[in-house]
Amino acid sequence: MANPTMKKVDIITASMIIPMCFYVFYESGTWPLPALLGNPLLIPRLVASSLLVAAGMLLLRSLAARSRILESRLQGLNLWRVSGVAVLTGGYVFTLERVGFVPTTFIFLLLFGLVLGERRWSRLIFFAIIVPAAIHIIFDATLNVPLPRGLFR
């Protein structure tokens, strides 16, 4: 998959922002207008209008200008690694309360280390055990901030 250039990214950004601005106008039309508390529509619509103009300028600028392929900036970047970490992080959010903090964090750190290319298993496992234990002690025992117990409730 070819990496997106700034031009494409700017066009995508403007295309996402423009409907957002129209939605602001739409939803703000359904709000009540409490008397003597100032008009609640004014600031949101002003911001949305300004944003619409800015997004339009960005779109026109992107369509009219030459695009840039930022080879040097993209050189050496491993976007599969970023995607892998993003998926792992999403999985962490999904399982944290269901499974519990300690086991979820242990598995997360193990897999994260593997994604980053760490292959020294003993160190990785030691790290994956120590960190959740330490955080659990700091938050639960010392700061009295409970962390999810999940399956160990």
Binding site: V9, T13, I17, V24, S28, W31, P32, P34, L37, G38, N39, P40, I43, P44, V47, A48, S50, L51, A54, A55, L58, R66, S67, R68, I69, L70, E71, S72, R73, Q75, G76, L77, N78, L79, R81, V82, V85, A86, T89, G90, L96, E97, T105, F108, L109, F112, G113, L116, G117, E118, F127, V131, P132, I135, F139, T142, N144, V145, P146, L147
Partner: protein
Amino acid sequence: MVSFDLLLLGFGTVLTGYNIIALVLGSFMGIIIGAIPGLTATMGIALLVPFTFGMTPITGIVMLLGIYAGAIYGGGIASILIKTPGTPAAAATVFDGYPLAQKGMAGKAIGMATVASGIGGTFTAFCLTFFAPILANFALRFSAPEYFALAVFGLSVTVTLAGRDPLKGFISGAVGLLIAMIGLDPMGGFPRFTFGRVELTGGFSFVPMLIGLFALSEGFRQVETILTAPKVDAVLKDILPKLRELKECTVTFVRSCIIGLIVGITPAIGAETSCFVSYAEAKRTSKHPEKFGTGVLEGVAAPQTAENASTGGDLLPMLTLGLPGDAATAVLMGALTIHNLQPGPLLFRDHADLVHQIFAGMIVANFLFVILGLTFARFFARVININRRYLIPLVFICCMVGSYAINNNLFDLASCVFFGFIGYLMMRYDYPVSPIVLAQILGFMMESNFRRSLAMSRGDPSILVTRPIALTILILAAITTVTAIRRQRRALRAQATVSTGASDSGGRYQ
């Protein structure tokens, strides 16, 4: 005016019990965070805010102040040893710090950087102590129109000065304003942009968003390249600067302190700007400007003094007006609100003792990092070698656990991860991140005070321009915006002229 009784009591509170332990720990962690390239002061504060939940307000705040001051200083260590600034604020320290290290004078450079940072930070900590109560007293006269004008001023400066492209900065700020409107209307109490979700009736929680945008996003960026810094093997000797060397830099210290203070007070301009301005001035006024860049102690003293001097300046508008000076103070503001303390003039009126404890904490923090920096210089130098394959996952876990722990709410964790990924994409494609955060704070201030002003004047908008202080601030906002846009356009045109027909940083056009 500052109350000397309260200030002495403040020192008494800060130097005892858990407070001094928190301050020492905070300074130590701050120096480590600053020394490691890729970790910033803002990130460090954002990461460690959740750890202050179980602490008393003053203990938590002094710990964060210790991190703030320590991290700003710590960036210079990596600049000197491996030619890579530990924090953006230490970029100018590379120019003379690294050549000094190459000459075998790494210890001397670090020693000078440490003392210079201490002088800058302590100077503006004292300025903060003496000027903040005066400004807060003046601000007690402010009403809704003045706060509206202040918010507009803060937003205009933030948006125009953040990033290289004012248009993208504006878009970032405007999106931040819309995000700030999610939740209940501040005056009418009806839901806005909640899509029927109960979790959004309070809007996005501020601290998880901060952690995501500043800390987690940087974590994603680090994953891209697994930044491997060159190994530090310099032998550090003669760390403590000689009296003669310090005397030779006296004028540099004084000038850099003033530059740092002025730059720090200006909203949206942080330590990164002050270090470059200070270095340029030191070089310009030096008897031997040709020596700058070859390894002179003055070239290290100037930026390091200014960058820590800007910390007090950044705190001044935040504490007195509720206007964050930069991203780091925005995070500190979030920390204060977690402890039920609202920055602004009322903080000085209702919690004068706590405010003086904060002043004392800031002064002590600047002394502490000098002592720690000089004593443990060799340890901090080795910290730069930390394995990123363990550091990055640790950062992720601290971010996520911290976000969750605020309200024991999974939605906060999801927000953190969401904004973390958005922040990463924004950084990747040149959209500045700090306007979103500052717009969150200033947007609420702007909207609620605008509506209050109209309620005060029974709908007459002229109240915003007929009150002299409000009008002055609005005019300043307009002038600042126009000047900033003109300056950036000139800079971009100059850049385009230089790179015409050639690739820009290795990129090519199609």
